[in-house]
């Protein structure tokens, strides 16, 4: 079996194996083994990719193509470039960390892990798809398990949040579907065979009228999961209600599907539509960036803070994509990765803190640095990463975005760029506010003195996510070079 | 073919019949009278078929045969409907259409 299909097969096999397990111990062990294999495969893929790339300069490598539905020219068509490889690594890491974080989940563990693994399958499939149809199929497979994950294992207004999240995302995907169909039926204006294959569609130019019509559909379809204002409202409620591992996976990986899809589908296939609509969506994304940050300032629930912060950070991804140059795009990809690791880390930590203090309200806590120093210090580090401290991944990403944004010299882009840059101050405000209130200060509750220290599986989860955050931040060159190479064919279509 | 009667007059008749039947169906309270109205509707069609056959395509007797089948089926339909109405009567001692409104919304 080829190296990419395994990424779908292994989770499915894991899920099937899980069916035969009993109890938490077996379930988590099975999942861990499956996901460890997956993680190893992901790391291996990076090396394999470099090796393959040296010999092969096609846009996608490791391609494989099987006819599926001949009538519609639907293929099972897979392949990766650097961006998908990185996204796969991100996914593998976050999922594995998520398994460790859910080590002690006691309610219906088997079902939990199965659903989680199905979700992961969808994500992997999405990242390796070249065919729009399979891409869409995997997208939905990735989204729908969220309903169960939040609904069954969530907390707070979980039913409401789960329903809202599912409906908004599926609604968006429905709009996306129309966009995809539009692309499909214009994929060969000269009367040849219609196709869903991204690379083939990129060879033809879709009529401008069609681009104008279908770009916003495709864009909004993807941008909703990327939490573009004003379609982001599923995200705060969803994150707040979801169990820890799910928040991690969702914010860390699932929301990345948005940016990835915009990049891979909306912009690549509809370049003129992109140019036509870019002003409008730039405004939306900038509103998202600033607004998410400002709204986060006001929140007290840790998860809400993080959710709004995600709105802000991912708004930056969309903003960067709309800047339409290589620097900004590199930044967008880096920001996706960085935000993935960092937010997952954040949610993991919030889960750990919640598991100990039984509250997520920052003002109710205090002085945690003293009682759970390890978790608290990592929280500070994650916070610093979030506010874009040099040496952490966020900085590298943001700088690329800003540098890319500044390549536009007209006033509109300038003003928008400056607004986006301003958001980093606001980010500092809300991060430090939480750190100050929750981790520092006097201890408000005597019970806190007996909080458990961090356990080994929590440590593993933390390190899995922390290492990439710092790694990217310290040595970004190879990564940005890797991304740069793969961006080229895409950017060339737009300029 | 009837002397001095054109197809238009006959079709007007059937149309009127059709609407009378429809009106009856919509306004009667008694299930049996509603059933009668259905018969009117069906009869309108039956006459239609015969008339069309006779006036327009007199070579082949398709319409006439069709009308015979309609009459037969209508009989079966009525028989079935009446049996169910009787069943309703047994349960509710009434054949008022208002008795059949328990399931709604």
């Amino acid at each position: 079996m080829d190296i990419l299909t395994l990424f779908i097969v292994v989770p499915i096999l894991t899920a099937i194996a899980l069916l035969f397990t009993k109890g938490l111990k077996q379930a988590r062990l099975t999942t861990m083994i499956g996901m460890l294999i997956q993680f190893g495969m992901a790391i291996n893929l990076v090396f394999a990719y470099f090796k393959e790339r040296a010999a092969n300069d096609a846009i996608m490598v490791f391609t494989k193509d099987l006819m599926w539905f001949e009538t519609f020219n639907i293929h099972y068509s897979i392949g990766v470039d650097a961006i998908s490889v990185l996204m796969i690594v991100l996914t593998a890491t976050v999922v594995l960390a998520g398994v460790f974080i859910s080590w002690m989940l006691d309610e219906m563990p088997k079902e939990f892990f199965i659903t989680l693994v199905i979700l992961a399958t969808g994500v992997y499939g999405f990242f390796i798809s070249i065919d729009l149809f399979t891409l869409f199929v995997f997208y939905e497979i990735a989204v729908i398990p969220m309903y169960l994950l939040i609904g069954i294992w969530g907390s707070g207004p979980r039913e409401y949040a789960a329903m809202k999240l599912t409906l908004m995302l599926m609604g968006a995907s429905a709009v996306l579907l129309v966009g995809i169909l539009g692309i499909y039926f214009n994929s060969n204006a000269d009367g040849g065979a219609l196709t869903f294959n991204i690379l083939e569609i990129a060879q033809v130019s879709i009529p401008f009228e069609a681009q104008k019509l279908f770009f916003p559909m495709t864009f909004i379809g993807f941008a909703t999961i990327g939490a573009l204002f004003p379609f982001h409202t599923w995200s705060p409620d969803g994150h707040a209600s979801a169990p820890t591992a799910v928040s991690m996976l969702h914010a860390g990986v699932l929301m990345k599907l948005g940016g990835y899809g915009i990049f891979r589908v909306a912009m690549y296939l509809l370049p003129e539509g992109t140019n036509y609509w870019s002003t409008f969506f730039i405004v939306l994304s900038v509103i998202g960036v600033v607004y998410g940050a400002l709204a986060a300032v006001k929140q007290t629930d840790l998860k809400y803070i993080n959710a709004y912060s995600s709105v802000s950070h991912l708004g930056m991804v969309i903003f960067a994509l709309l800047m339409l140059n290589k620097t900004a795009w590199t930044g967008a990809i880096l920001q996706s990765l960085s935000h993935g690791f960092m937010t997952a880390l954040f949610f993991a930590l919030i889960g750990m803190i919640y598991g100990r203090t039984h509250t997520r309200m920052a003002p109710q806590m205090g002085g945690l640095l003293k009682v759970i120093p390890f978790i608290s210090m990592i929280y500070v580090i994650a916070g610093l990463a979030s506010l874009g401290l040099p040496g952490m991944s966020g900085f590298v990403a943001e700088m690329n975005i800003f540098a890319g944004a500044f390549q536009h010299t007209d006033t509109f882009h300038r003003v928008m760029s400056i607004l986006v840059i301003s958001s980093i101050v606001v980010t500092a405000v809300y991060i430090l506010r939480v750190v100050g209130v929750m981790l520092m200060g006097p201890i408000p509750n005597e019970d806190y003195k007996n909080l458990k220290t961090v356990t080994w599986f929590e440590r593993v989860g933390i390190y899995l996510l922390l290492i990439p955050v710092i790694g990217i931040g310290v040595a970004p060159l190879w990564l940005s070079n890797m991304i740069n190479d793969s961006i080229l064919p895409f950017i060339q279509r737009l300029i | 073919m009837i002397e001095n009667v054109s197809i238009y007059e006959l079709l007007t008749l059937t149309t009127i019949l059709f609407f009378i039947g429809l009106y009856g169906f919509l306004t009667r309270k008694n299930l049996l009278t509603m059933l009668l109205s259905i018969e009117l509707l069906l009869n309108a069609s039956v006459i239609n078929f015969v008339v069309i056959n006779k006036y327009l395509y007199p070579d082949v007797l398709q319409g006439v045969y069709f009308s015979i089948f309609i009459i037969a089926v209508a009989a079966a339909e009525t028989a079935l409907a009446i049996s169910i109405i009787i069943n309703l009567y047994r349960l509710k001692t009434s054949v008022d259409v208002a008795e059949t409104e328990t399931m709604k919304y």
Partner: protein, 647 residues
């Protein structure tokens, strides 16, 4: 000459940080203290060696100091042309800064071994100090704007961590947060400036940007915005960043609060090294500041510096917390450095201000660190920060007393101390180029002398207080740094600075350099300055040597002015108003509300409308056959009508 060993100046502190940080709960405090001190000693040794090599052996070629690279690596590329390198750039000012940072840091390390003894976070403290040292070193040796920005932020975060070191104290937490956010806000300007510079100047690299014949300087006029060159805007924005770090108006508000941190931190970061980063930045970019648009940006620098120094001096007169007095004094002195840079030109003697600024930076680092450490020693002894709890300490703490006096004399510009030389160079530079600024400077010199001696007399003389615990001299670990710095506070005045550190890297005839050019001292200029200083000291002597009621009378006489100065001209309140009332209440809260009610409400509304629509139409399914039949027949007719009329 191969300077590649200088990489260890960066590696050693970060390694120390990682070592102490990872094993903070396994290493014994005593050991970690020694690790820190040893590491820093090595770093200081390397720095001194580098300085020696550079200034005395290899640095000067053809009468001009050359620039060396100790290390250079590509870190990230934005575009083909716009790349970010990480490297070590060695030229006079960076080497001077290496010496300053390593010296003060080493002193702070040694001092902390005594000062922090018994603290829970002893190891952590040393780890953070190492982190800071690393970041500061990285900042000073930066080869390009982006590197400086990166380390700039890292310095900021280590400052944050150190100010908030006593994290259980809410005031410390608030101060740390304030320091970080205010400087970050200013850094926003810096970042935008850098990006603008990158795109209009074509590079981030100092060597390319600062080349007087390079494209960046030659083409400054190519694009303009609101009447000024974009490059000027970039420079001004970068200066905003510098002003934030260096606590210039109006970003100074974090500095007094930052005194919540442990005193060695105040000495190291908030007096000697980090706060002068802004000055260093301007000095680093000096050719650009000077050449672009006839130095418009430099005028901004000069005036901001001058006003800040005056403003801070006023506030320093009134403060009661000794560390805050010192903090405002720091701000005032940094204003000096800024204005000196601001009035400077590039070539030859015209570049006097530049030299003076750097020199003052150097001497100020010594005596201000000394003042802080001395204050720390006093605080350590009396367990209070407030002047009212002190007095007559000269008997109990002789070493502290003497060293503090030396530092106070130095800062007041008392003849033959280091401060005298460097400050008078500033005065000369100001006099030559901008009279208005000169008078401000002179006035501030007098004020400085007055408030420093108010402090000195208030602490060591004045009323004899009864102390609960008899104060005693601090341990050797704390007094050795004091003595060393006291020595430096005098000795650094006799360095031939004007030969070493100048704008164009060529030697320059200073006025008051002892070994270089004592002969041409301008005694007229110096005399005025000395008079101003002595006047300040005399008034302080008169007011504070013994408890008198003059201070109260004077402050009453100034009335409102005194009150304003005492409340720091209400800057904090304005900021608080802007953040709490405007940003939080007027912007953030409505945004959160908007999100909840309007955006989210719309989405929920769509759902709710659908559901209620479903309720509204439920009546059509009435359960009546005849209604159904009517709908059926009606449907047919409507369809017929539509179809027939639409086609």
């Amino acid at each position: 000459m191969n300077f590649s060993y200088t990489i260890f100046i960066l590696i050693i502190p970060i390694a120390t940080f990682l070592l102490l940080g990872f094993f903070y709960n396994r290493i014994k405090p005593a050991v970690s203290g020694w690790i820190g001190v040893t590491a820093l000693s090595v770093v200081a040794g390397l720095s001194y060696y580098t300085a020696y090599q550079y200034f005395f052996n290899v640095g000067k070629i053809d009468g001009k100091f050359q620039t060396f690279f100790g290390f250079q690596a590509n870190w990230m590329n934005f575009t083909e042309n716009l790349r970010i390198d990480m490297g070590i750039l060695l030229d006079p000012i960076s080497i001077m800064m290496l010496v300053v940072v390593s010296t003060i840091s080493l002193m702070a390390h040694i001092y902390s071994r005594g000062y922090m003894k018994g603290d829970r976070g002893y190891t952590k403290f040393f780890a953070f100090l190492s982190l800071f040292t690393f970041a500061m070193m990285g900042l000073v040796v930066a080869t390009n704007l982006f590197q400086i920005y990166i380390f700039w932020e890292l310095v900021g975060v280590s400052s944050y961590l150190l100010i908030g070191f006593y994290y259980e104290k809410p005031s410390a937490v608030a101060a740390a947060k304030k320091a970080f956010i205010v400087t970050r806000f200013a850094d926003l300007g810096f970042l935008i400036g850098i990006l603008l510079m990158g795109y209009y100047g074509g590079s981030f690299d100092f060597m390319e940007l600062n080349n007087p014949e390079g494209p960046a300087i030659m083409n400054w006029a190519s694009t303009s915005f609101m009447g000024l060159s974009v490059i000027t805007w970039a420079l001004i924005l970068m200066f905003v960043g510098g002003a934030g770090k260096s606590a210039m108006l109006p970003f100074h508000i974090w500095l007094p609060d930052a005194m919540e941190g442990p005193t060695p931190v105040s000495a190291l970061i908030h007096a000697a090294t980090m706060v002068v980063a802004g000055v260093y930045l301007v000095a680093r970019m000096f050719p650009m500041f000077h050449f672009v648009e006839d130095g418009f940006a430099l005028h901004v620098v000069a005036w901001v510096g001058a006003i800040s120094s005056l403003f801070a001096a006023f506030i320093a007169l009134t403060q009661k917390d000794i560390k805050r007095v010192l903090a405002f004094s720091t701000m005032s002195q940094i204003g000096y450095m800024m204005l000196a840079l601001g009035v400077s030109k590039y070539d030859g003697h015209e570049g006097l201000g530049y030299m003076a600024s750097m020199w003052h930076l150097f001497t100020h680092a010594m005596f201000k660190a000394l003042l802080f450490l001395g204050a720390g020693s006093v605080i350590h002894a009396v367990h209070s920060n407030y002047l009212k709890d002190m007095g007559g300490l000269r008997k109990y703490m002789p070493i502290t007393n003497i060293t503090f006096l030396i530092a106070a004399l130095s800062i007041s510009g008392f003849p033959l101390t280091a401060g005298f030389f460097s400050k008078d160079e500033i005065l000369v530079a100001a006099f030559e180029h901008n009279k208005a600024i000169y008078f401000i400077t002179l006035f501030v010199a007098g004020l400085t002398a007055f408030y420093m001696f108010r402090l000195y007399f208030g602490i060591f003389w004045g009323k004899k207080k009864e102390y609960e615990h008899t104060p005693h001299e601090s341990p050797w670990s704390m007094t050795i740094p004091l003595l060393f710095l006291a020595f430096m506070s005098i000795a650094t005045g006799y360095l031939p600075f004007s030969e070493w550190v100048t704008a164009d890297h060529k030697a320059l005839h200073g006025h008051i350099g002892l070994f270089s050019n004592l002969g041409v001292i301008h005694w007229d200029m110096a005399g005025i300055a000395i008079t101003a200083g002595l006047l300040g000291i005399a008034i302080a002597w008169f007011f504070y040597k013994k408890p008198t009621d003059y201070p109260a009378k004077v402050s009453a006489a100034f009335g409102r002015l005194y009150k304003w100065a005492f409340n720091k001209f209400y800057f904090d309140e304005v900021y608080l108003f802007v953040t709490k009332q405007i940003i939080f209440k007027r912007i953030s809260t409505p945004f959160a509300w908007f999100d909840k009610k309007v955006v989210d409400g719309t989405m929920d509304g769509i759902g709710n409308t659908t559901v209620s629509l479903s309720k509204v139409i439920k009546g059509t399914q009435s359960g009546r056959i005849q209604d159904y039949a009517f709908a059926f027949a009606g449907g047919v007719f409507v369809l017929v009508l539509i179809v027939i009329y639409m086609i």
